[in-house]
Subunit: 319 residues, 2 copies
């Protein structure tokens, strides 16, 4: 049943909207019971499940004037799938919860769900369940289940002597956000990168295969995530800026705002690039670049930039 | 590190609070990687996972002046675990997302998490991950993973000739809610039932073992859920009121409010009792009572009460 163009969630009702949303969720062969019962049932071949969860709050993680509904859906799926990628695995099943005001256009929810399902489709993951309820503010609550081929790659396995490496766009989304915050819409490539991150979904499993010793996805900021690796592994990490690629359009943004373009690369999150460490003699998979080195833990800072303490912004804090 | 009594989420910060919360989450043996990495990793022995998700929104699903933080945690876990129960299974792993205002007392979050973990402990389930972020309104987002012993019991398996049966307290929570809405706090047993539902966690697996043909948990209302069973199974269901137990304290509430106490039992949700159907010759497990019958689908209503169409409230709608 098509939803009238101007209908709100209240007009369509919970069950009407759920039935419309579910029609956008194709189910993989591993889904024994999909949406519509008290719970979904998934066939699991691997003997394990990798699971993560993330919330996106309107005004905090997205703004409806900056991102359309499909963008929000793509981002919500991407940031969750990226967490499985960061274990060296791939997501196969997601749940999608939506809390929203009764006067939200039903089309917004439908387009968000379409974007969400489209992003999941990139890794052949299924949207197997969800929840829909009323709230003052839009909150998108996602959980993701996935699998790794062999062992999961943790944050805690980096060892002195390892190299630090990066895969995926980094600094693009932060540049896009800076542009939107100033009320502009271009360079468009950066704005689009903020709206729809492109996590390197193949990079996690490839890194695991290549012997990565630790992995994390960059959601809050490159240096902040390097700090997590260093802290959890009991090591120190040095990032070398001469090996970091500053995306061409960032130079324009930086010169317009008077900022050093490297601050977007070092402190920016939201691209969901992968950061990892590998033994120095490992052959890095395609797309990975060495951007630093792992050393012994000292009394100094956990993370240095070109051997020095860094005093710029390192990432995002939630409170 | 103990959290100061008056500290807010903003005072404690995201990472400080997460580390405090996680200390309240004991991990079962099936948890290979618990909270603290990009994702958790669970050992799955059964070859399948049963998964469900639910959101609780302040002002919609709970009020802080009606329920303390631990109550909210218990309820959030209970309603999710009940969804696995309603598949004939048991939850083993949950994720807990919390979106909340920065000025929320950190103690509220800690006590909520303690209540959540305590409820999970009733079925030996572990809290394996979560997310914490800022929002204008408190939203608790839960996902639950579980397993069934043999096949899951769906909503769609009821057959004409089956009996309809109920296990668990029903109508208690609705009575408690009616009391709180009028500004009272007693009868206390009903108010407590609303604050901390007691889903019959053993009843789902026992029903599956006994050959239940369909199962659903009563979160929105007995007749509403009976309607889901009838619709999904392509049958008609008749509920017989002479077999329903009206809890003693409900009589007092009903006489004070002029309501028929049966309306609480027929239309009330939130107790997370289990409703199911069994072949007429099945031996019902302990705690289950026959409360009706399954018949052929007709042009009449999906659900009747004592053979007649029911015109009272049948349950809760979300928009």
């Amino acid at each position: 049943m098509p939803i009238p163009r101007d209908a709100t969630l209240a007009d369509v009702g919970e069950f009407g909207l759920i039935s419309e949303l579910v029609s956008h969720f194709p189910q993989g062969e591993h889904v024994l019971v999909g949406p519509g019962d008290d719970a979904a049932v998934l066939r699991i071949k691997q003997g394990h499940v990798v699971v993560s969860t993330d919330l996106l709050v309107e005004g905090r993680h997205f703004r409806r004037d900056w991102c359309d509904a499909a963008d929000v859906g793509h981002r919500a799926a991407a940031q969750n799938l990226a967490d499985i990628n960061a274990m060296g695995g791939t997501g196969h099943s997601l749940t999608l919860g939506l809390a929203a005001p009764a006067d939200l256009p039903a089309r917004w929810a439908v387009e968000m769900a379409e974007g969400f399902a489209a992003e999941c489709g990139l890794v052949d993951a299924s949207v197997v369940g969800g929840d829909l309820t009323r709230a003052d503010q839009i909150v998108v609550a996602v959980s993701v289940l996935g699998a790794v081929r062999k062992a999961p790659i943790l944050r805690s396995g980096a060892r002195p002597g390892d190299v630090l490496a990066l895969c995926g766009r980094q600094g693009w989304a932060a540049g896009g956000l800076a542009i939107l915050k100033r009320g502009f819409r271009s360079p468009r490539a950066l704005v689009e990168a903020y709206r729809r991150p492109e996590p390197p979904y193949a990079a996690g499993p490839a890194a695991a295969e290549a012997g990565a010793t630790s992995l994390i996805d960059i959601s809050d900021g490159l240096l902040a995530e390097a700090g997590h690796l260093a802290a959890d592994s009991g090591v120190a990490i040095d990032v070398r800026t001469d090996s970091l690629v500053v995306p061409e359009p960032l130079h324009a943004v930086a010169s317009a705002t008077g900022a050093d373009p490297l601050t977007f690369v070092l402190g920016g999150g939201d691209d969901h690039a992968l950061l990892g460490t590998f033994p120095a003699d490992a052959a890095l998979p395609e797309g990975w670049t060495v951007i630093g080195a792992v050393g012994e833990r000292t009394d100094g800072p956990l993370v240095t930039v070109d051997g020095e303490e860094y005093d710029g912004p390192t990432g995002w804090t939630h409170f």
